[in-house]
């Protein structure tokens, strides 16, 4: 489904991604693990076209999306849930969701489906996004991305700073989306949370691939984690 092949990217003159390759199949959760500064968030930005590629290619179902102008990338069906949520703070819950719906001209039934996953947002519907609690903001960031009926979801540390009940809710939604056939790329710091949902785990360091393994291998052999992350 989502294919990242040999991408190089840089902030100014500092190269961050070096020949990085990843692939996520439909109905699969691939988790990206690496130390701080390994380039996980940058990988997501590069997929979204927010950071220009020096070389390499990102494609979705064989169609190149790295040639598209950045604003056309989400229209191909990629929902982005960025680190720190990045909501449109002064807009209401309804308006944040409407921006998600506009991406692919999704109809009312999509919105209803998303609100069914997050009933709390319906209660907060006319409230400004900045007045929501941290957990509610994460729900909204997730819901906004789901409003474009994504085929691929990019989640960057979705459970950062959340209480356990909220983490569980987000986890359930991720699993629901996987079961609906969405390809999911997940960046997460908490290894235990990763191992409980991921199908495969890709390690990266200094913007390069290390090995990519089935998550089951890591559950059996925690030594691998130790080797790559030093935890």
């Amino acid at each position: 489904m989502l294919e990242v092949s040999g991408i190089n990217a840089a902030y100014g003159r500092a190269q961050v991604l070096r020949d990085l390759s990843l692939s996520v199949a439909a109905g699969e959760i691939l988790c990206l693990l690496g130390r701080n500064g390994a380039g996980k968030t940058t990988t997501m930005k590069a997929i979204m076209g927010l950071l220009p590629l020096l070389s390499g290619r990102v494609s979705l179902d064989g169609q190149s999306i790295s040639d598209l102008p950045p604003h056309r990338v989400p229209g191909a069906g990629i929902g982005y849930i960025p680190q720190g949520r990045r909501l449109f703070a002064e807009l209401t819950v309804a308006q944040n969701l409407e921006i998600g719906l506009m991406v692919r001209n999704s109809g009312r039934e999509v919105l209803e489906g998303v609100l069914a996953l997050f009933p709390r947002l319906r209660e907060r519907y006319r409230q400004r996004a900045e007045t929501l609690s941290g957990g509610e903001q994460q729900m909204l960031a997730t819901a906004r991305a789901l409003c474009l009926e994504p085929r691929v979801l990019l989640l960057d540390e979705p459970t950062e700073g959340l209480q356990p009940s909220m983490i569980e809710l987000i986890r359930q939604v991720i699993v629901v989306m996987r079961d609906r056939g969405v390809a999911i790329l997940l960046v997460e710091q908490r290894v235990d949370a990763v191992l409980s949902v991921a199908d495969r785990v890709a390690f990266m360091e200094n913007g390069r691939n290390l090995e990519t393994l089935p998550a089951a291998r890591l559950r059996d052999d925690p030594e691998i984690l130790h080797r790559h992350l030093g935890v």
């Binding site: 990338v73 989400p74 229209g75 449109f88 308006q95 409407e98 506009m102």
Partner: protein, 308 residues
């Protein structure tokens, strides 16, 4: 005659200034708010609006209102299109880098100003107002404790001046409706709040920028079309509106539309009143002093939000 009638007269003059200033400053504020671009050429778009209004009205024979209405409809579109073009060919190329956009818009300022001087010339030319009836205004005087209405000599305004105020109010309500209620307004606000996330949700940010830059310039041009029957068109007339717009936008809070309107009324009215009783120069001095005080004690402006 006591001070009351003078004060009324000065307030009316100030209200006209405030109305035109509010339109111009809202244009500047919109551009800064959404694009984070300090548009030094804003006053030249205002000037261009006035000069083109003279040109359009001079082409149309018949009743003065005919040419004026045509100018009112066509000139803001022309200036807006020119500004959008400048955005796409110049500002986009320098990636909206804050320092370079200031230098680039200074360049645009001189290009517009000098091209106008070379083509339109150095003269100040009038545009005939579409309607202009003198209205004498009454004042109440107490004679032996009883109210008594009389018509002080010189206390008057014109229907056109009232028309300018009404038109500005209508346009400002329109801008507010577009920003608060329409889909394009939602897109502009989302772009303003988080450019990268707007891109990540399919908003064509570059087109939004061109639109906003065009809209900002069109508002300045519209303000100029409204004022030109009172003030005359001249190639150097862009300086004062630019200075006052910056004053208003800083006092109101950068990027805050309600703050901009309130500050425009404050500065416009005080400018009118101080100019009548003292001198226009003193009015400018006080306005600039106010800006300095705001910057020292409330840098985000009266209505601005402090950004993290």
């Amino acid at each position: 005659m006591d001070i009351g009638p003078y004060l009324l007269l000065a307030s009316l003059e100030g209200a006209v200034t405030a109305a035109v200033l509010a339109l111009t400053a809202v244009g500047l504020s919109l551009v800064f708010g959404v694009m984070r671009v300090v548009n030094v050429a804003h006053g030249e778009f205002f000037m261009l609006g006035a000069v083109l209004a003279w040109w359009v009205t001079s082409l149309v024979a018949g009743h003065a209102a005919l040419g004026f209405v045509l100018a009112l409809l066509v000139v803001p579109v022309m200036v807006g299109a020119l500004a959008a073009l400048a955005d796409m060919t110049i500002l986009k190329r320098i990636a909206y880098d804050p320092e370079r956009t200031i230098v680039a818009t200074i360049g645009i300022l001189y290009i517009i100003q000098q091209v106008t001087l070379m083509t339109y010339g150095p003269d100040a030319r009038p545009v005939e107002p579409p309607f202009n009836t003198r209205l004498a205004l009454p004042w109440i005087e107490f004679v032996d404790g009883k109210p008594h209405i009389y018509w002080p000599w010189g206390l008057s305004t014109t229907t056109y001046k009232l028309g300018v105020i009404a038109a500005a109010v209508l346009v400002l309500i329109g801008v507010w409706l577009v920003m608060a209620k329409s889909r394009i307004g939602l897109i502009m606000r989302a772009t303003q709040l988080d450019r990268d996330m707007a891109l990540a949700f399919g908003i064509p940010v570059e087109r939004v920028y061109a639109l906003v830059f065009g809209l900002g310039a069109a508002l300045a041009a519209l303000a100029a079309v409204l004022i030109v029957p009172i003030q005359q068109a001249h190639y150097l007339m862009g300086g004062d509106p630019l200075l006052l717009s910056f004053i208003v936008v800083i006092i109101g809070g950068l990027g805050s539309l309600p703050g901009t309107v309130v500050a425009a009324i404050l500065i416009g009215l005080s400018d009118g009143i101080i100019s009548v009783f003292f001198s226009p120069t003193l009015a400018k001095i006080l306005a600039t002093l106010l800006v300095a005080l705001v910057l020292v004690f409330r840098p985000q402006g009266l209505f601005g939000v402090r950004r993290a």
